[in-house]
Symmetry: C2
Subunit: 334 residues, 2 copies
Amino acid sequence: MKRVAAIYLVLVLIFGLYVIQYLYKDTRGPVIQEGIKGSIDEKYVMVTFQAGIEYWKSCLKGFEDAAEALNVSVEYRGATQYDLKEQITVLEHIIARKPAGIALSAINPQELSSTIDKAVEAGIPVVLFDSGAVTSKAYSFLATDNVQAGVAAARKMADILSGSGKVAVITQPNQLNHQERTQGFMETIRKEFPRIEIAAVEDGKGDSLSSKMTMLEVLRNHPDLSGVFVTYANGGVGVAEALSVRQDAGRVKIVSFDTDKQTLDLVKQGTISATMAQGTWNMGYWSLQFLFHVKHGLAKPGSSANQGVSTLPPYVDTGITVVTGENVDRFYAK
Amino acid sequence: MKRVAAIYLVLVLIFGLYVIQYLYKDTRGPVIQEGIKGSIDEKYVMVTFQAGIEYWKSCLKGFEDAAEALNVSVEYRGATQYDLKEQITVLEHIIARKPAGIALSAINPQELSSTIDKAVEAGIPVVLFDSGAVTSKAYSFLATDNVQAGVAAARKMADILSGSGKVAVITQPNQLNHQERTQGFMETIRKEFPRIEIAAVEDGKGDSLSSKMTMLEVLRNHPDLSGVFVTYANGGVGVAEALSVRQDAGRVKIVSFDTDKQTLDLVKQGTISATMAQGTWNMGYWSLQFLFHVKHGLAKPGSSANQGVSTLPPYVDTGITVVTGENVDRFYAK
């Protein structure tokens, strides 16, 4: 009897083993649902120029955050200088390695197209961020709408001046993005704030010393100036110096652009009233999402899912945030 | 001895049970990596007006495709008519149920703002697609850039006419989106195609009968017309009828808008040379992605990840595809 009992026990345990193994097998299926997820050996590359400057840090952070969320890898490359040939060489090297995708900020809107097209034709997805290349075959362009940035700057200026006063614009009139910032600013002042007068629009030539000189000249011609919009970060720094020389700091309000450390420090100490932060994190984050979507066939030209409609949104406005003393601390690079 | 052997066997089997259970427990951990993934009880709602029309089908398909990829649920609701009050009521009901997010096509650019803001203030993420509401607190707007759509239409027209001829535009001059399509078309013709003359810009009043009458009038005044751009689908159908009445079909080339079945049939039989397909799938797909990102804190205002920069891209151009006889089959609703 005892032998029979032991044999029964063994049979019951074997059955138990089978049941447990079966249960685990069965539950593992439905538990593992993929979501949107890649593999860690998929490498996406971000390519810039003047690759060491602070401006790209937050773009790269967005790119990395998306990579972490999607379980893929990223790499950062770029021309070290402001040098077209160097960026083309860097890009050629990357294409030869066949990465999963390339997010490129183009140093020049025309001259990179044939290299970009070569990548696309080799089956490597390419999107452009920050600086575009209009005629290329890249799938999408993710960047600031500079006209809207000018609109936001105008509204902030009017807010600071309580809707009346004399203002100037210091800009770089030969660059499209700066033309657009100026245009958005001027149109909005004229349309929405009839008691604000635009007294001067001047070329600050891009560096802080020239911008300081330009501002001193503007102040000589318009001693009753109450505000100045500067469309580039160096200019804001230069204008702040001009005002401190004349001990006008505080009376003339500055609205500047971008969020490098010097500008943020000046916002923090109140010399610059506000600065326009570009949506650089968005540029990086959604660039990687778009590349991933093409790579994984989630968005595909001519697929039945999208009825032949273009693979990705051709343009994304990555947005502007107004930085003042109240929120400046959140903008220092981590 | 046999009893001892049986006991050993039992012990070995018990140990085996333990080991198997342990192994399964251990391997389940690392196998499950989340990617970007929600849970099926998260419900996102798409809200439209004239909810039964064909136009929304592909928007909803994009919304559903994103939901499937992200493992969440969706629901489709809307005002049955072109009725502001009905849409507000529908929206109020949905807000009361606290869904995970709302993608709304606003019937009116002003009157829905307070209801939208109520949703946002209740912690429900809201994005707008196709038709916006400029002053609301919605996080983003995903829609066609209608100026760009006009640009694409002009280039296609010039291509069809080999760069020379007399053209007309039939539009709805009181609606912003139609003004923009007309503007993009006219500016591009003037700038890029000096041998094309714009002979007339007329109000087709939105329905196919009025558009037919308008076209007949235009043809009386300009019997040598070689092309017409119509900024709305009904208009393309009406213009095609006008041409068939006069047996001018084939000589006067039509570039139309949107991809309802009647328009696609006319493209297929060659009466309409080309029509502009909006990126409706993109509207739905990226609306859900954006809502999901806010809901899951992947994009969050003021988080350290994005250094305080605005939560989501404020605007996405969902794109235009030119539909001709060559690719028309891919645009019929599945």
